[in-house]
Symmetry: C2
Subunit: 215 residues, 2 copies
């Protein structure tokens, strides 16, 4: 069975930014408004961070409940793991997600600054350097035959797209402009030479789902 590299539930503004400027502990997505960007996902029953019962089970829920479907490992950029830059001052920071991260699988954080792996609940964070192909090889081995999710942010996804390693992408485009930040694309049309594209408006979430798969 072929192991795919999949981007799932990645969110960008209408001008293609995955996060705004000024990422910090208080503002993981910089000046981007999480409500506008992500509320479509938070409204669904299968949102991975949902703690209360309820939520919708319409079209948007198909996207959130596919988040972990046949996924065995995640790759993320350092900016998704935390707001720090440069060498780790200490190793107190263990991600944004508290003691129960919503991954439940090995996670590979790409960084030039080494740090020992650690485990929180059923998620183990590994800190790896190397080019995208080398990191993907490690993640595929850890995924034990399942697919690998590429978790973002935008610059990390760009690196894997530029290396032509991405097999499928789901990107939800929000009706808001950010003007600056970490950019995935100027237009989704940039990927049409290599990918098929289905464009599907969310019936109630305000975003437009873009589903790409390799030609």
């Amino acid at each position: 069975m072929e192991q795919l590299l999949r981007v799932q539930n990645f969110n960008v503004s209408s001008d293609g930014y995955g996060a705004g400027e000024g990422q910090s502990l208080e503002h993981p997505f910089g000046h981007a408004d999480p409500g506008t960007m992500f509320s479509w996902a938070g409204a669904t029953a299968s949102w991975p961070s949902r703690t209360d019962p309820g939520g919708s089970r319409g079209l948007d829920d198909y996207f959130t409940r596919d988040f972990a479907n046949n996924i065995g490992a995640e790759i993320m950029g350092r900016g998704k793991f935390g707001p720090q830059h440069g060498p780790w001052g200490n190793e107190d920071w263990r991600g944004w997600w508290g003691d129960e991260p919503p991954f439940h699988m090995p996670v590979f954080v790409m960084t030039h600054h080494p740090r020992p792996a650690f485990t929180l609940s059923d998620t183990t964070f590994h800190f790896v350097e190397g080019d995208p192909a080398a990191v993907l090889a490690k993640a595929k081995e850890a995924a034990q035959g399942k697919d690998v999710r590429l978790g973002g942010g935008a610059s990390t996804i760009r690196r894997f797209l530029d290396a032509d390693l991405v097999d499928a992408l789901h990107v939800a485009v929000a009706p808001t402009k950010l003007g600056a930040g970490s950019r995935l694309w100027e237009s989704p049309d940039e990927l049409r030479d290599r990918f098929h594209l289905d464009i599907v408006p969310s019936p109630s979430g305000g975003v437009t789902h873009h589903v790409f798969w390799r030609k």
Copy 2:
């Protein structure tokens, strides 16, 4: 975790029939044209009966790859299992699907005619009678905490809808009229009093996806 009863990838004509008249060994769906009704699903990478590589990974694939996602058992009517009526003449018939049925879980076939359970590969077929609530209780126990899929046909789904036991339905409506056969509804609007409804045209499959979830 609540166990849901879900209808997944059920197909009907624009006038609401899940199968035409004259079901037989050669024509499992009677006079309905399988090409028009089901080709959207067969074109996807995750179609459960796919044997060759390839297939699309766009919107339609989200529906087919959700087929078994968190499903632990299936309930089906006898007409989905085979074309016979009345007492089993013999027990040679073991379903339409050959030695590797696409279920990979316990399947409960509703019939008034008893027959011993049997296993093909990793699918075990149980033959059960009783009202929908009693059959659902058996299937939930077999599903071991996962959801139960209600596999059809239309008259079986109707029975569970009439007993208000269905939590979520995905029905793909094909642009063809059958005029007669086994009917799910006259119009999807019949379910709006009890269900939310997202209506989503397939970008390339010709059908219109109807996604219902309980209010």
